[in-house]
């Protein structure tokens, strides 16, 4: 057979060849390649044959664009036995309520399909009241099959996905656009390595522009009462059928502001990376940065637990390499510590995901097929009763799962006993990566707590809320004290992050609208402010390769522009009214004071510590006598245009949100309102006036 064809006769052996000539190997390789091609083709043919199922629908997805539009589905029985089509119905994947957009389906002309026969259904799209939620409607035509082969459950044997509205796939473009830049990086000619920066700038700039447009289109009044539970720009499709995993992206009030923050901070981080040497390795640097951005944006938009976990882990590896290769002297230690800590947290999260999945009720996937359990984070939050689940290993189910998730997210936030990776990673990472670490990565922890612990396990959240508030206070005070003790400027900023994320926890633990809104605002504003702080420290370090705050003095005299931004960032960070840091902290205090009076009071008192270390560092560096040893490094080297460009948008946003926080509050409020509904709190208790 094949072997015989390829068997060379002894007479064909070219004896004239040298014994070790390369030709021999090439002939062998070619022969093997031929064999491989034959076998691969056979395998593909085999795989194609195995896919045949008994009932088939054409097409598998119907997309409707206008009201009253009708489309036809053709169903063929390809099996060997007659199939009874019963029941036939339209299931709403994203919920469904009277008055909202819906689909209707005609009765089947032939309820029994013999082998080889086919029948057709008409599906009509009727728009509802035409509100903003009609932008995306997902439903599924479900065909039950009886009399099919064994192993088929009665009902929901086949589904046809029905979609209407906006099919722009905006979120997919935002999340995956950075990946498109990676192959482009390798197309940059070797002679011009600096072009890699421009490619990276483009690959992060486009998602930023798309995100800005998305925020503009975002409907601030869509709520959980609607068909889509307040979700917007929904995209869903079945990804891995046998595991019941969907590709499910959407944003709501909890996530939209963080998506914007991510896109902005990453773009500015690329701008800040221009100070790196442009060499061959910068391709790798920017490729990892772009992969990181996809991971981060994915975490904030994925609403299928499996997908969420994939994005969560995808972000780990680039960060490991970015810190480990381009970091400071202790980069290897910091990188491995970061990796191990985060992986430890995320495997606990994986256990939690599996536990929730197996305790969840059945659901309908995006194409109408039935799944016995659900990974849908929205379905898990609405209408699942995990309080009834049997205890796990002797612990109450919801409490154990809550703790698993909490540890997973607390590593990222970081909550104080689990924070030790943070100062190492932040200090050793290059400036741009510190900016991303502090500006975005920490927010993933806070977001995860809101999306998973608070929304899916509200009763356990109420059980633990007090402890969360106190952990927040511990973080605020301990972080501030540690920051005070640091001579290394970058380490001080790192600990200030620990302290500031403590305010988020305090707000989260309050379980009031002001507290939760405050926590999200604090996350966004801390993302902006701490990015400025790291950029400012980076500016000084780039010029002097020194980060000890005691080594400087009088910098304001020689670098006035720098002194302005430095002072601005420090004032914002210590919570000066009129800047965004104050808004978040104020909301957190007002939200937590009525219920957690002692904790809130302690946290407010710790503001004195915050002010102390900020003002101390500011004074030592900017004021006093100028040190002569920095004369060549600093004099005449005030901020360049690029540095101003990377700081200016942040400063403008910090000021704008400080003076006029309403747009951000509007974005966030809808999501928080729905969350409070889940938590059973009183949404009307919006404490205090908004500044």
């Amino acid at each position: 057979m094949i072997g015989a064809d390829l068997l060379p006769g002894p007479s064909q052996t070219p004896f004239a060849m040298t014994r070790r000539g390369p030709t021999r190997g090439r002939v062998g390789a070619r022969r093997i390649a031929a064999i491989l091609a034959v076998t691969l083709a056979a395998l593909l043919a085999r795989a194609a044959g195995a896919q045949a199922s008994e009932l088939r629908a054409e097409p598998a997805t119907l997309v409707f664009s206008q009201a009253g539009e009708a489309q036809v589905v053709r169903v063929v029985n390809e099996g060997l036995a007659p199939v009874v089509l019963e029941p036939v119905r339209v299931g709403h994947v994203t919920g469904g309520a009277p008055g909202l957009p819906s689909f209707s389906v005609s009765r089947p002309p032939k309820p029994v399909l013999g082998p080889g026969e086919s029948t057709e259904f008409r599906v009509v799209f009727s728009p509802g009241r035409g509100d903003a939620e009609a932008r995306q409607v997902f439903a599924a035509l479900q065909l039950g099959a009886e009399g099919g082969g064994p192993g088929r459950p009665g009902g929901a044997a086949l589904g046809v996905a029905l979609r209407a509205g906006d099919q722009s796939k905006r979120l997919s473009w935002i999340v995956f656009f950075p990946l498109l830049g990676i192959p482009l990086l390798w197309l940059v000619p070797r002679r011009a390595p600096s072009w890699t920066r421009l490619v990276a700038l483009g690959a992060t700039g486009v998602p930023l522009a798309l995100t800005l447009r998305m925020v503009q289109l975002f409907d601030r009044h869509a709520g959980a009462a609607g068909a889509l539970r307040g979700l917007q720009f929904v995209e869903r499709a079945v990804w891995i059928r046998s595991l019941h995993v969907e590709y499910f992206l959407a944003v709501d009030g909890l996530s939209v502001s963080l998506v914007l923050l991510t896109a902005l901070v990453t773009f500015l981080a690329v701008l800040a990376s221009f100070s790196l040497d442009a060499n061959d390795r910068s391709r790798g640097y920017f490729a990892l940065l772009l992969l990181l951005e996809t991971g981060m944006l994915g975490v904030f938009t994925a609403l299928d637990f499996f997908l969420f976990y994939v994005f969560w882990e995808v972000m780990l590896l680039p960060m490991y390499f970015l810190v480990g290769i381009w970091g400071g002297p202790r980069r290897i230690y910091a990188a491995i510590k970061f990796f191990l800590y985060t992986l430890f947290g995320s495997v606990l999260m994986l256990l939690g995901i599996l536990a929730l999945y197996f305790a969840s009720q059945g659901t309908t996937l995006a194409d109408g097929t039935f799944a016995p359990h659900s990974f849908d984070m929205i379905k898990l939050a609405y209408g699942q009763a995990f309080t009834q689940a049997p205890p796990l290993l002797g612990f109450a189910f919801t409490k154990l799962v809550w703790v698993l998730f909490f540890i997973g997210f607390a590593v990222k936030v970081p909550v104080v006993p689990l924070h030790t990776w943070l100062p190492d990673a932040h200090v050793e990472a290059p400036t741009a990566i510190s900016v991303i670490l502090a500006g975005v990565l920490l927010k993933m922890g806070g977001y995860g707590l809101l999306r998973v612990n608070w929304a899916i396990l509200p009763d356990a959240t109420r059980w633990a809320a007090d402890a969360v508030s106190w952990l927040g206070v511990v973080g605020i005070v301990y972080g501030a004290l540690c920051a005070m003790a640091q001579a290394d400027l970058k380490k001080m900023v790192a600990y200030s992050s620990v302290s500031h994320m403590g305010y988020c926890l305090l707000g989260l633990g309050a379980l009031t609208e002001a507290g939760l809104v405050g926590a999200i605002v604090q996350m966004v504003s801390h993302g902006l402010i701490t990015s400025m702080l790291f950029l400012c420290v980076g500016v000084l370090y780039d010029r002097t390769h020194e980060r000890d705050k005691n080594a400087f003095g009088g910098v304001a005299g020689v670098m006035p522009r720098y002194a302005f931004f430095f002072g601005f960032a420090f004032m914002a960070s210590l919570g000066l009214p009129g800047l965004s840091g104050f808004v978040g902290e104020f909301l957190v205090f007002t939200g937590s004071f009525p219920l957690r009076t002692v904790a809130a009071t302690l946290a407010a008192a710790a503001l004195v510590l915050t002010a102390a270390y900020h003002l101390d560092a500011l004074g030592r560096i900017q004021l006093g006598a100028f040190r002569d040893r920095w004369r060549s490094a600093l004099v005449g080297h005030d901020l360049s245009l690029r540095e101003v460009l990377s700081l200016l948008p942040l400063a403008a946003l910090v000021l704008w949100l400080g003076v006029h926080p309403a747009p951000l509050l509007d974005l966030v409020k809808g999501g928080v309102h729905d969350l409070l509904g889940l938590l059973g709190g009183d949404p009307t208790k919006l404490a205090g006036p908004v500044p």
Binding site: L7, I35, A42, L43, A45, V314, V347, L350
Partner: protein, 556 residues
Amino acid sequence: MNGVGASPALELGRLAPEAFLLLGALGAFVAAASRDIRSRRRVAMGVVGGAVAASFAATCFLASSTRVPAVLFSGVIVVDGWVTFVRLLATGGLAVTLLASLGSAEVPQTDDGDDAMAEYLGLLATATASSSLMAAATDILTVVLAIELASLPSYLLVALRRRWPSSQEAALKYVVYGSVATGVALFGFSWLYGAARATALGDLGRAFTTAPLVAAVGAGLVLAGLAFKLAVVPLHMWCPDAYDAAPLPVTMFLSLVPKAGALLLLGRFVSALGSPVVTAVVAGLGALSMTWGNLAALAQTRVRRLLAYSAIAHAGTLLLAFVATGEATATALVAYLAAYVFMNLGAFVAVQSFADLGAETLADYRGLAKRAPGAAAALTVALVSLTGLPPLAGFVGKFTLFSALLGSRDHGLLPAQVPIALVTLAVLNTVVALAYYARVVKALYFEAEGDAEDKRELAPSALRVEEGPMRARAGAAGPRRITRLALLTLLSVGSLVLGVAPSPLLGWAATWFVGSSPLPVTTGVSSHGTEGARSSWAVSPVAHPKDLLRDEPPAR
């Protein structure tokens, strides 16, 4: 196939893939008798290569002609979806091994009178055939035969580097321990036979009702023998030595092909017995193996030994699959093993590239990402996949395995807490695994050549391999480099594709093993009081060959 109509011939036809491989092996051995080194190598390559292709094609043909399990030779052999899977996996593994051997400096292909290429190829083909026979065996007789047929070539393959003392030492250890293990398994089978008075695997479960103590002893002895073949703690000690001393293509072959067969055999055995005690022992072995394997890997300095311990840990994780029951188990085993093909072979092929540069220890690996960026990237992908991080294949394997365990926690033979505890342990093991995989990546990317930061690397390792004459030939020639690079790309991309789009594979597994088969796929032992052991992938060995005709699906 040849002689349609005659029943014994038809039955033999179902074993065509193995027959082709064994014929190829015979051809290679005959070719080895030739005096002309060059022609015998060419003939052996051609014959074995052809046999692999023919075996692959026959597997595909047989699998597409019917999905019904075929019970052959009065029930001593069964050819079902599992056998097909192991055949595909084994021939795929063999193909990769052959391609990797082309450029290997360690496979004896010198012309200083030491050429064993033809024998090498013949042994590989024999071991591949016996691997799928192990998966197909359903009777004590065929089981023992298949184990022996797999073991003997493995011993010889490890001993292949005749001039390397360490190779001889490892092979001797392997032979002595291995023969004892086979003997122990055989001894155990005789106890089981004595209690059950039957040689069919499906009937052995009876022993637990007639003579529980005898059955337990017998089952324990058989498990010990099989655990040795699988290199599961505490019977793993041959494995790091053998993996370290054997030529790398042999190592990658041993870590995959015979293991897959032995794993399926163990699975059939455990599920046929259907005894909670046996299942608990398997679970314990799995837990011990993954934990100890991972912890021991932390201490390794030679990358080959590190991968050997990683293989021990993965074998332990795979054993956990037999604690689960139901359809998800089949899917999990298929997903995990398929992922393992790509990540494990990928790691070994990459390590081969580094071995060509003379790098063996973690200290040698420092900064090599600059000198061999392709191999470093492929090794990173393979190791990340082995860790089980998304979006690579290893994550899908682990995830399906964990969800199979948790999903069947209430229907298994063991209390529901056991699967939960096992999953928790496995998940925590991931973190330990990351710690040592990350050390390899760290050495490759973060450190510069000549860094001497880690003093431990300088300590003498347990087994120093002399830097034989192979080092002189470092660096593969052009076409071989391209073959190597193509292999690495194939395996890395395979790992990624399987991780991002596992749906076809998982869907394939689901239709294959639980699809529209008219035969009830349960064990034949439920009448013996072990109804708990319903498993989708054990077989009914009692069907008569006459039933074969009825098994054929009606013509369309």
